[in-house]
Subunit: 233 residues, 2 copies
Amino acid sequence: MKLKKISEGPGAPSRRRYEEACAAAHALDLVGERWALLVMRELMLGPKRFSDLKADLPGISANVLTQRLEGLEAAGIVTRRRLPPPASTQVYELTPWGYESEPILQALGRWAARSPSHDPSRPLSAVSLFLSFRTMFDPARAEGLAARIGFRFGAETFLVRIADGRLEVARDQLDQAELIFTGSARAVAAAVYGGESLDALAAKGLLSVEGDRALAERFVTLFPLPPKVCPGS
Amino acid sequence: MKLKKISEGPGAPSRRRYEEACAAAHALDLVGERWALLVMRELMLGPKRFSDLKADLPGISANVLTQRLEGLEAAGIVTRRRLPPPASTQVYELTPWGYESEPILQALGRWAARSPSHDPSRPLSAVSLFLSFRTMFDPARAEGLAARIGFRFGAETFLVRIADGRLEVARDQLDQAELIFTGSARAVAAAVYGGESLDALAAKGLLSVEGDRALAERFVTLFPLPPKVCPGS
DNA sequence: CGGCATCCGGGAAGATACTG
DNA sequence: CAGTATCTTCCCGGATGCCG
């Protein structure tokens, strides 16, 4: 049974929900509140702690994050798990069904990438970057390519594997990478989506490239953005 | 630390927006406000007047609808158009880019249809029903089928064409339909998604079927719902 | 430090009434 | 019919503090 506001009886109007049969409207009942989808986005590559979520969602306040996590947990989208004794902290993780919401983020991203007001040069979380890779990856441009590419953003590391026209992302590993980018998610986005050259970014101290340089130059071409909407249309 | 500017020009002081480079977050800046996506949903099959939108979005208030339409127009998602003199009323219509947002509604719908708390027996707008057909249509189940099926919901009429494993929806026409359902969107949803028999619905006076009865029985099987999430998982 | 409760100010959403 | 004006409610965001 759903929790009802104390002030309302059983037939409660459920004030701020749509309560339609339309499944899209129901989705908005579940994840339509502010920050909810972005919290899910940050968990899309694996569990995180409360403070990591707060740090990766600039602007969210602790109480709102608490509320969202409670709501998502009650809806069966997120679970709370306590790590084994050595680190007695708890983490939040998407349920299998929660992970299935990635196509929502992809549809939103594909559509909004065409927006005239979209500015790819703004700040970006690491998870956002790698989810955008999964969304925008063009298998045709990766024809015959097999590679392991590492990323070092501060203390975090990620590995992108490309093979057989597929792209996979893993957290917390760098092993056997032929190529390692070191810098920030924003700097990588500038190279991949902003058209900035690796040399220019290196000269500004924003991004360094170790390993297969030709691979790096090819990598940044694998994620074509859809054309912007022409304002006149 | 961010400081709020009290008075700002059109450059928006980032009042309540995420302002991230992540395209999904930008999408939420554009259409993440309450009611915005449902307004777009109601326009997805063609233009509508203000009062039609208000009637088809139970619970929205006039001022909120006005605000959403203004915001969507400013974002280039909706346009306002005045009909030719005889009917001097104006209608709202999605721009071409606005129409491209349908995959967002489909991703939301596909995902939320698995929700344990989703109840397909609740009220439903006609547009929601036909968009759900576009989302859930299974070409394999429509193998070799070519048909024109009409729907009469009060004063509104719709025509669904199925051919070559594709499904198309048109408003305001019924011509050459081999089959016509008369009743409500909710009653059709009960037959297609709720597993209620056409006989039972007819007995209750909710839905009547004229024309090819065998086609009607087949039609209601063309839109399989994904399995619900098992609560224990 | 991680997680959660509480208080407060501002603003968005909701309901109703009113106008061209 | 197509909105505007006004008032109320309550969510969001920020700060602070408690507790383990």
